[in-house]
């Protein structure tokens, strides 16, 4: 086994029934292969069963174990203690209401994803017997990056705009919208664009790029949002024009 020893880990606690948020430090058995998630589980199993956090796959794909470690939003399962300078301080994701300890309420972000209509629609649905819609590797490449999002919500935690204004659609939902808009098989782009160019839409992104910096799957939501802004501007112009045309018909 790797180097033994002990280490201190400080966690932000909050039990609504009991008190205001406070910090609690735990001493734990350290070894080189210990992740932040392993450390928390060790504490929960051996010292304090009330320490509360989410986790499942422990391989960086289910997106459950998001938290902020020494100020940076990360997935705890793939962050090794040996790589973090002491003292180590674990706090819940920012910009979401805290439910208990490291568990936050992410429903607002989940609902925003729902708002961008994240599913392909075809003008006329082809019967299944007629087989698949064609998509060349090159066309698939266009959705490759944005379709990697695991909905861990680290980007919402990092986004200064979402922190100030919950109306902003936010990074992951923007990336998700862009993923479906750039899919060659989808035929409901206009509807989706309209959902994005309203008051709650993409305009508020100030391109700080924090979302892309913290994304554990390299999705680059900041870039997706910039592209959506360009497309949105086009769509707005189109709508203004068609409104004018309609009005001129009315006259």
């Amino acid at each position: 086994m790797a180097t033994d020893g002990t280490q201190v880990l400080t966690v932000q606690r909050y039990h609504q029934e009991k008190s205001e948020p406070f910090f609690q430090s735990y001493e734990l058995r350290f070894h080189e292969d210990l992740t932040v998630l392993d450390a928390l589980q060790q504490i929960k199993d051996e010292q304090d069963g009330s320490l509360t956090f989410r986790w499942s796959c422990r391989m960086g794909i289910c997106g459950s174990c998001s938290a902020v470690v020494n100020g940076k939003p990360i997935l705890m399962c793939q962050t090794y203690l040996k790589n973090i300078p002491s003292p180590v301080r674990v706090t819940p994701l920012r910009n979401f209401p805290i439910i208990k300890d490291l568990v936050v309420d992410i429903d607002d972000a989940v609902n925003k994803m729902s708002d961008v209509l994240p599913y392909t629609d075809h003008a006329e649905e082809k019967p299944l017997e007629d087989g698949e819609y064609q998509q060349t590797p090159k066309q698939r490449q266009k959705i490759d990056q944005t379709s990697q999002c695991i909905k861990c919500m680290l980007c919402y935690s990092a986004c200064p705009v979402y922190g100030l204004d919950k109306n902003f659609i936010g990074p992951a939902a923007g990336a998700l919208a862009y993923r479906y808009i750039s899919d060659n098989r989808d035929e409901s782009k206009a509807k989706r664009m309209d959902a994005l160019i309203g008051e709650k839409g993409v305009w508020k992104c100030s391109f700080v790029g924090e979302c892309s910096a913290v994304c554990p799957k390299r999705v680059d939501p900041a870039l997706a949002l910039q592209r959506l802004k360009l497309m949105g501007a086009g769509r707005l112009a189109q709508k203004v024009l068609s409104n004018l045309t309609e009005k001129s018909h009315e006259l």
Partner: protein, 565 residues
């Protein structure tokens, strides 16, 4: 107590549960569908499925061939009518996923690509890089957002199924965030809660895979079928058990011993690394026993070598293999072989159903890994399980929707609800000197030691004795956290209760089956015995413990013969 009403209640938000919800929602917009899941659906363990999904997609392939591969892989324990239905439906489901936007990997001409997989005689495994389950789960989840008649209950933990003699009536569940128990009244219930890999100490499975649906069904008298058959995947990373996909071998990867030899030549020369999982896992164990493995701080292992595929193929088709090998084993497979060792992975057994997902209790259905139809028999072929989730998820969703027409919304017994509330409260405040983690670890170690790849009658008896003691300890567990709100120590306790039921059923069934078949290797009965054991094992709840029975296997066109490759 709050009571929610639904036509169809689905417990579990992985591939099978979501597919069931979509089938019902799309075809029966008037139905009220509730999706109850202990995690957000996108956290479900489907997300970790990697290599692909099987279906006949090419002219060179045939339904008959896929059926035969599956049946031979099952060591002739699969029900052949179910396999025929499954094989016929699988391609349709793959196309349906495509129409819903799933980003399958493609051939140059834009067609859906296929790759080779273990035990499949031709290339028929459709994939999306090596994150197939992840892409499928997100596609399905996003699709459910289109249907207003699917109401989600995210982070609700189901505690008990309710029934009368006439059939299922509902369930009780804890709202983790609200901190309260509520009742769900439903005409039909579909269990889609996944497998129970967490009853082993070394598993590919995520933390949530605790066999909840199996235990809930068992508790109200539904038989569990073929529970002795637990698949050990040949290639998990030492220490964590994280899965390295069979797709790595499908794309041409080698298994090497410490002499640098492709040792599968000595065990299965016709298939080499692309044999079925039970045979490959046993071969690895045999190499290790013979001293031809590597020794590491976390136990012995062999090498999976994909260096010769080159960086381009690895990054394009096996990006997750590279990612997790680097993150969790400290090796970059472009330059170094990956250390791998067999690891508990999948339950062939589960809640007994027919091919419409129906259990013996009217109105109660099951689909996916929770269920046992059985298409997998004694050993599942890699990439059949994702297809199984879709095919039988849909079948259960449709059948449940039909059934809704025939029944009225049942009434719940208020006394029963009160009792459950009291029971939960008692568990929350129970006193004693045991801790959840210790008892859970004892259970996992007991299963790992005695119900792993190799089993003996003596070992299983010993394990059952140990199990009884472990179950006694459960009653002496006290919690640190007595709060109602998001109490994950309490849900761990409830999960442990479910794990105890599932683990015992595995031990009972394994002791009963005095033969070796598929994943079940009894070293004291090393051969297959069709005369006595070409049968399904049924475990049912009796007045004083588990009752073991046998039921016949359905054979249509493929007579059992020696399993040769």
């Amino acid at each position: 107590m709050e009571v929610f009403e639904s036509d169809i209640l689905i417990a579990g938000g992985g591939a099978a549960g979501l597919r069931a919800a979509l089938a019902a929602a799309e075809n029966y917009p008037q139905l009220k569908i509730s999706l109850v899941s202990k995690v957000y659906p996108v956290r479900s363990h489907t997300v970790s499925a990697e290599g692909g999904i099987a279906g006949v997609m090419r002219d060179y392939d045939s339904f008959k061939q896929h059926c035969f591969d599956t049946i031979r892989g099952s060591d002739y324990l699969a029900d052949q009518d179910a396999v025929e239905f499954f094989v016929k439906e699988a391609p349709r489901e793959i196309i349906q996923m495509e129409h819903w936007g799933c980003p399958w990997s493609r051939e140059e001409d834009g067609k859906i690509a296929v790759r080779a997989f273990g035990g499949m005689s031709v290339k028929r495994t459709v994939f999306a890089a090596d994150k197939t389950g992840f892409y499928m789960l997100h596609t399905l989840f996003e699709r459910t957002l289109k249907y207003p008649n699917i109401k989600r209950f995210d982070e609700w933990f189901a505690t008990k199924l309710l029934r009368t003699n006439g059939g299922v009536t509902g369930l009780t569940a804890l709202d983790l965030r609200g901190g309260k128990m509520a009742a769900f009244k439903a005409k039909t219930i579909i269990l889609a809660t996944g497998g129970a890999g967490k009853i082993y100490s070394f598993t590919t499975n995520g933390n949530i895979k605790t066999g909840d649906g199996m235990a809930l069904a068992y508790d109200i008298g539904v038989p569990l079928k073929d529970m002795e058959f637990v698949q050990f995947h040949p290639t998990g990373l030492p220490r964590t058990g994280i899965l390295i996909t069979e797709g790595a071998r499908g794309e041409g990867g080698y298994l090497l011993n410490n002499k640098g030899e492709r040792f599968m030549k000595d065990y299965l020369p016709s298939k080499m690394e692309l044999g079925p999982r039970d045979i490959i896992s046993r071969s690895i164990m045999s190499e290790i026993k013979a001293g031809r493995g590597f020794t590491g701080p976390y136990g012995p292992y062999v090498h999976l070598d994909i260096r010769h595929l080159g960086q381009k193929i690895i990054d394009e088709k096996l990006p997750l293999v590279r990612e997790v090998s680097k993150d969790f084993a400290g090796v970059d497979p472009v330059y170094e072989p990956i250390p791998v060792t067999p690891v508990a992975h999948y339950f062939m057994g589960g809640v007994s159903t027919n091919l419409h997902g129906e259990t013996e209790i009217p109105g109660l259905f099951a689909a996916g890994e929770t269920a046992c139809v059985s298409i997998n028999g004694a050993n599942r072929l890699g990439s059949n399980s994702l297809a199984e989730c879709l095919v039988f998820g849909r079948a259960a969703g449709l059948k449940a929707a039909e059934y809704c027409d025939q029944v009225d919304l049942p009434n719940l017994n208020p006394n029963e609800l009160e009792d459950e509330e009291k029971n939960l409260d008692q568990l929350l405040h129970q006193e004693g000197n045991e801790r959840v983690a210790q008892v859970r670890e004892a259970l996992q170690n007991n299963m790992q030691e005695h119900a792993g790849i190799e089993r003996t009658g003596e070992g299983l008896k010993k394990a059952l004795e140990n199990h009884e003691k472990i179950a006694e300890c459960f009653g002496r567990i006290s919690l640190h956290d007595h709060s109602k709100l998001f109490n994950t120590e309490f849900t761990s306790l409830l999960e442990l209760k479910n794990m105890l039921t599932v683990a015992e059923s595995v031990l009972m069934a394994a002791l009963h089956r005095q033969e070796s078949r598929g994943s079940h290797l009894r070293t004291d009965f090393p051969t297959r015995n069709d005369e006595k054991f070409l049968k399904h094992t049924f475990i049912t709840r009796g007045a004083s413990g588990m009752i073991t029975q046998e039921k016949p296997v359905t054979i249509t066109q493929w007579q059992p013969m020696e399993r040769k490759y």
